[in-house]
Amino acid sequence: MTALPQSCEKKLGLVIDLDTCVGCHACVVNCKEWNTSNYGAPLSDTDAYGADPSGTFLNRVHTYEVTPDVGVPQIVHFPKSCLHCDDAPCVTVCPTGASFKRSEDGIVLVNEDDCMGCGLCAWACPYGARELDALAGVMKKCTLCVDRIYNENLPEEDRIPACVRTCPSGARHFGDLGDPDSDVSKLVADRSGVDLMPEMQTKPVNKYLPPRPKDTLLQDSAALELVATEPKGFLAWLDKALGAL
């Protein structure tokens, strides 16, 4: 049923650190690689070697330029996948019941066996987190690697999403955001994690950690105290300093 659960036992999700993401697309491709041969239909690519290649990805990295009122422009790499919203509009719009949010862990999934490929859920999602696969005709989205995180065929330490496991810079964190004592919740609290488009009232589970303040050296650093301004003065200092060693 596409009604949203009253409450979820856990709120599993991702925390993405925009201060650390270098924009390498590792998470994008590893997600594609894992998901093309696991959950549901493969993620297809059309005109793969031709003039207009296009394919299904569950996670994509944008690059933005942010220009402060005063100071130097910054670049922010911005990975985006499903945010597993608490108030997921993509779920309630679904006419077939294919889209659902799990009460046990809050993961939003599409049951492809039920999906008729109407695309309405993708329209309902503010974040572009759903893509209709061109060849399979069913809706694809981030599964939070539900087939990894509980998978007893994987070693315990690997029961995390593929994108988190692969991220070279450690910019992606996975955990229970419903538990205020979890590492991810603490991280969000420490770093003032934010929701994307709060005005859409989707209550995303995934949080984004904003970049730390940048280009502050000029304000922060104290000038060096000079011991010499020319070679002779330096020599005198040198002699003294060597003596003190």
């Binding site: 270098v22 590893n30 959950y39 003039a51 496991r165 940048k214 280009d215 650093s221 104290a222």
Partner: protein
């Protein structure tokens, strides 16, 4: 409906089997777990136990499946049937391929082996390919280092016995401040990303120095958008500030560097002006601070007096540090004096200097780890300066790169932050001073192997490789007065020199894994013409071209004979301590690749093909006394070859029973032991040997034990680089090996023993008002040069590159979204799509490297955006500098190392309306492998 939903805790089978090998989607060489199902590769992930990547995997590595199943894979040996460049080939057998190659190579070996030029790209078997070339006897061998980053490597080794790059790394876990110069990606891809992640998690900071604020510079806490080519000036200004504030580590300098070496300074006209005062045994001397007496620098107990002068026999000597201080305290390096040129405000320069000093000296760390130095002195602790640096091609790919890199190393050394906790650390087999490297060899004798390795580290004019008449011995003119310390050769000059017959003509150009007709060459359009040019008889000016590639690249179309390689999942390989291993600062490590799947085409690992070819040519080392082939294939070579007694390509599990490390007999089981261990071997450096390695007795002993070298070789860092002075001295007329007159002034100006900044050559030659803009390229993190475009997943991320234009220029010229531009250098013009970027040095434009493709290459279909709208900047960059009026054209390279000066390029820009096709638009090549399928849905099979 609930019944069709997947279970609450789904636990599907992941794969039948995991095979652990080494990634090859770039030169970082991460460990990978290849999940196999039904005999097919299902999923590739990082190997958590691997020293390099510790489980993570980049975009390229994750797209390995698509590379392995690429439609552009070559399928069989081929011989050219159409004109060169057309791409028309016929499949042949390996026997026929070998016969053709032997038919070309055997006669010239017997008459004039230098007529073979054998150059390899970024392969990871240089110790093997150079062994082959040495056995063949041609002086003309090198890998790609000359056009890549030799400035970085050479400056590092000459200055401190090891380089950044992949030979050393910041102490990521202990550093508090990391300053990164000119790095977009580097070879150490995953470790740098992981390091930055850990540094930030620990609260450390990053300062990025780069004209472009993307990638690592985007996450940097402080971005210094420097004007290209001026880093040397900026660094010397930082040094100026540190000297003025006395913020240098005197104890460190006295102990571990040549700061105290005495240098003659009284009479510039004498031959030993600027040379060290040496004892009779030739050892440099210092004044002992305790006694005031002269002493050999490495005498136990002696601490040099860095402040004293020495007057002796009417001559004056000063310690190197004093010369250094005199040079850099000069007002020309004051922040105010350099600010404009560098595009960084004087206040900002001062703030950076202050921050470096603060972190180095106020955040000093101490490890409770006793150690003993080379002189036998025991130290109870290890003192750390948690400020460290990393740099790559942004400072090295300029014509002033060698000296800029040296300046940076001197900054590190002055701060006392090399090989200390929190600082910069070498990875085995480094540290290794220049003296410990071989000297170059370039005298080819018909029918004989070369006397020694091709490449090495000259220590003065006496080591140059010149004919009696002063002409170059090598086709690339390496180790000549034009580029005396060209320790990696100059691959970027081979085709144009061979075409020009300067210094001589060759017969066969044999290349491996370098796309020299496209993205790895300068002046691409002209190089394509040189490769197809014919002489008055209608014969090709370069008579034979043999090429080994794994894919249908642009260069394939220009070869006469193609030796098709396997993909990285189909062959044996070794990532060896003899070459460019996978060591980390705390461990020695090497690794293998092995065929986790068998090739389904008539292809062969190139090294195995080279072994077959070596045997057919009867090369020493490749045939037994009875004339039979010594090694069946590369796997056999990896296990059984010994470079020095007991030392072979792989260091792990040596000895017949596999119990030895580093040194030991061949172990027939060695490869299986590697496979069982996840594809790699590693051995930890003992705790007391982890830092201070060049001077650490226990490290030196360990290195000898493990076979890195045969005897301990402690040394000191070269603030003052005497071999440079030797070059200068020759240019001043001293000695018997003399440079040609037209080079004297340049050598004097550029080969300074203390690094000086001079402006990039192109800056000095072109009219800066006419060509006001610097043009750069950067590597995309998800693409490896030209290979990525054949990858169905990666090419979706980037199949068009645009030229990023700074807001100032954008507005001035009235650019709008979707516009194109004509970009013109002094040498050529290209037409390209553009985009605006503000987080960019205001005088710089840039684009992603190697996205542009030639039509027909890489099995891409008609209209592929890579060919229609993608482009290369290479067309604008000439391998020679513009003519200067004296009729001579110098290589567009660093005058010391020959490093290709890619980033010296200056251009002008003109707005064009939207909807163009990139120019130059080269005619299509025929694809010998057809084009890829319409659709891909890879997981279908599972």
């Amino acid at each position: 409906m609930a019944d069709t939903r997947i279970g609450a805790r789904p636990s599907p089978k992941v794969s039948d089997e995991i095979r652990q090998t080494t990634c090859y989607m770039c030169a970082c060489r991460c460990g990978i777990n290849v999940h196999m199902q039904d005999g097919k590769v299902k999923y590739i992930e990082g190997n958590r136990d691997h020293p390099v990547n510790k489980g993570v995997l980049c975009a390229k590595g994750s797209a390995g499946i698509m590379q392995h199943y690429s439609p552009a894979r070559l399928k069989a040996p081929m011989k050219r049937v159409g004109p060169r460049g057309s791409g028309e080939f016929e499949d042949i057998s390996w026997d026929e391929a070998y016969d053709i190659a032997v038919g070309w190579l055997k006669p010239i070996r017997e008459t004039d082996p230098k007529r073979l030029a054998f150059f390899t790209g970024r392969d990871q078997s240089q110790s093997f390919t150079s062994f082959w070339a040495q056995a063949y006897g041609t002086p003309n061998y090198a890998a790609h280092g000359g056009f890549c980053s030799v400035n970085m490597a050479a400056a590092g080794i000459y200055t401190m016995g090891g380089a950044f790059w992949e030979f050393g790394q910041p102490d990521w876990d202990r550093a508090r401040l990391v300053m990164i110069f000119g790095v977009a990606e580097d070879h150490d891809s995953n470790p740098i990303k992981a390091g930055i992640g850990r540094l930030k998690a620990n609260g450390g900071k990053v300062i990025g120095v780069n004209p472009i604020r993307s990638g690592y510079n985007a996450v940097a806490d402080e971005w210094i958008g420097i004007t290209p080519g001026t880093d040397g000036l900026f660094i010397l200004s930082l040094i100026h500030e540190l000297l003025k504030a006395g913020k240098i580590d005197l104890d460190y300098l006295g102990r571990y560097t040549n700061a105290g070496f005495l240098i003659r300074t009284d009479d510039p006209a004498t031959a030993d002006h600027g040379m060290f005062l040496r004892d009779d045994a030739g050892k440099p001397q210092v004044v002992d601070r305790a006694t005031g007496a002269l002493a050999v620098y490495d005498t136990p107990g002696v601490r040099p007096d860095l402040a004293a002068d020495l007057q002796q026999d009417g001559k004056t000597y000063k310690p190197a540090l004093q010369l250094l201080a005199e040079a850099y305290l000069d007002p020309q390096y004051a922040p105010e004096a350099v600010a404009n040129r560098c595009g960084i405000s004087a206040d900002r320069i001062r703030a950076v200097a202050a921050e470096l000093a603060r972190v180095a000296f106020e955040e000093e760390i101490t490890l409770d780890q006793p150690w003993t130095d080379w002189k036998g002195e025991r130290h109870e602790t290890m003192i750390g300066r948690p400020v460290t640096f990393h740099a790559m091609r942004g400072i090295s790919a300029h014509s002033n790169g060698f000296q800029t890199c040296r300046a940076l190393h001197i900054l590190q050394i002055l701060l006392g932050s090399v090989e200390v906790p929190g600082g910069f650390r070498f990875k085995p087999p480094y540290p290794k001073p220049p003296e410990a490297h071989p000297k170059p060899n370039a005298v080819g004798v018909p029918g004989q192997p070369l006397a020694g390795p091709h490449l090495g580290f000259p220590m003065g004019p006496e080591d140059l490789q010149l004919c009696e008449d002063g002409t170059p011995l090598r086709i690339d003119k390496a180790f000549t007065w034009e580029n005396p310390f060209s320790v990696h050769g100059l691959m970027h000059m081979v085709i144009s020199n061979a075409h020009a017959g300067d210094p001589y003509k060759i017969d066969t150009l044999f290349m491996y894994m370098a796309n020299m007709a496209w993205n790895s060459t300068m002046n691409t359009s002209e190089v394509m013409k040189m490769l197809t040019d014919t002489d008055e008889n209608g014969d090709y000016v370069i008579p034979h071209i043999i090429y080994s590639d794994a894919y249908s690249s642009e260069t394939v179309a220009f070869a006469d004979l193609i030796l098709p390689d396997t993909t990285y999942l189909e062959r044996h390989d070794c990532i060896s301590l003899l070459d460019r291993p996978i060591c980390e600062a705390e461990a020695a490590a090497d690794a293998i690749r092995w065929p986790v799947v068998a090739p389904d085409r008539d292809v062969k690992g190139f090294q195995s093909a080279l072994i077959d070819l070596g045997a057919r040519l009867g090369l020493p080392g490749f045939v037994n006394e009875d004339g039979s082939q010594t090694y069946a294939d590369y796997a056999d070579y990896i296990v059984n070859h010994q470079r020095r007694p007991g030392v072979g390509p792989l260091a792990g599990w040596r000895g017949v029973d596999g119990t030895d490390e580093g040194r030991g007999d061949a172990n027939p089981d060695q490869l299986q032991r590697y496979i069982d261990n996840g594809g790699f071997w590693s051995s930890h450096i003992p705790a007391e040997a982890q830092y201070y390695k060049p001077w650490n007795k226990s490290y030196q002993d360990w290195a000898v034990k493990i076979g890195l070298f045969d005897k301990a070789m402690p040394y000191v860092f070269n603030l003052y680089l005497e071999p440079m002075r030797k070059l200068q001295r020759a240019a001043e007329g001293h000695g018997s090996c003399q440079p040609p007159d037209h080079l004297r002034a340049r050598i004097q100006a550029t080969c300074t023993p203390l690094p000086a900044w001079y402006e990039p050559f192109e800056d000095g030659i072109v009219d800066r008002d006419e060509y006001p803009i610097h043009a750069l390229t950067q590597r995309p993190m998800h693409m490896y040069h030209s290979w990525g475009s054949q990858n169905a997943w990666l090419r979706q991320i980037t199949n068009v590159n645009r030229l990023y234009i700074p807001g100032k220029v954008w507005d001035e010229q009235g650019f709008e979204d979707g516009d194109w531009a004509e970009v013109t250098s002094i040498h050529a013009s290209i037409t390209v799509p553009v985009a605006r970027m503000d987080a960019l040095n205001p005088d710089t434009v840039w684009t992603w490297n190697a996205i542009g493709k030639r039509r027909g290459a890489w099995a891409l279909g008609d209209g592929a955006p890579e060919a229609e709208r993608g482009f290369l900047l290479n067309h604008l960059i000439h391998e020679l500098q513009p003519p200067k009026g004296d009729g001579r054209r110098w290589a567009n390279s660093d005058p010391i190392t020959g490093q290709a000066a890619w980033f010296d390029l200056r251009v002008k820009i003109r707005r064009l309306p939207p909807e163009q096709v990139s120019q130059p638009a080269h005619e299509a090549q025929v694809s010998p492998v057809g084009t890829g399928p319409e659709n891909v849905s890879y997981g279908e099979g599972f």
